[in-house]
Symmetry: C2
Subunit: 136 residues, 2 copies
């Protein structure tokens, strides 16, 4: 291994494609209490940012259809769900709604052992907000 390389730990994160990236970062800050770990603003107004919430990291970037980076608004739906586990799903859900997310299903105790709800954010990404219940 060359001296310019350092051993790194493996990680797995997700980059969300959006329209109006700067607005999205603001939304995720208000909705999920996200903090911005890094951010690059391009001259054309597009952004790429690394955010942290819920003890995890995710990325947000303006879409670039020419590079196969499509936003949910572009495709008319989302191909994944973010799952945010939090000790107080009701509070986290309400905060997301207050910030501008729309409810898909309110937080309730499901038969499979989770207290969980689901929202779609203003940029078309879906978030499940919940936690496993004891005994499951």
């Amino acid at each position: 291994m060359a001296s310019s390389e350092s051993k790194i730990e493996p990680t797995l994160t997700t980059l969300l494609n959006v329209r109006r990236g700067a607005e999205a970062i603001d939304f995720y800050t208000r909705a999920f209490g996200a903090t911005t770990l890094s951010r690059i603003d391009a001259p054309d107004g597009s952004v790429v940012a690394q955010l942290s919430t819920g003890g995890g990291i995710f990325w947000v970037a303006d879409e670039s259809p020419a590079h196969q980076n499509f936003s949910p608004e572009h495709l008319g739906g989302s191909t994944m769900r973010m799952i945010l586990i939090t000790d107080d799903p009701h509070a986290a859900f309400d905060r997301a709604i207050a910030a501008g997310a729309s409810s898909i299903s309110p937080v309730k105790d499901e038969s499979y052992g989770w207290r969980i709800g689901r929202v779609v954010d203003p940029f078309g990404h879906h978030w499940e907000i919940g936690k496993p219940l004891a005994g499951h």
Copy 2:
């Protein structure tokens, strides 16, 4: 807090919507060395599974368009990218290609300080495979 509840740590994970979920789990096992942490097979053949790779967790589930869970094949593109950080991006990239992924861009050292490449898997999800280089 009721006695049936336990304090849990916040986490953030991603659930990938796919067609042919059982095949997808097999692919992610071969392509990324994923291990299956939990798996539920429904009578209709659909699956939901929690996988682990690269020190992280992700979920895979068969799509359900009626519930706004769309696969990339359904929408004709993906709304996010998974970012897999690994100490040997070339080896991880080659393993994914050998398992059936298609190259979008081969692993190379980028000016922004990452050794990184990109593939699309047979289910339409995009993966960036790389690591930050020392000094960045």
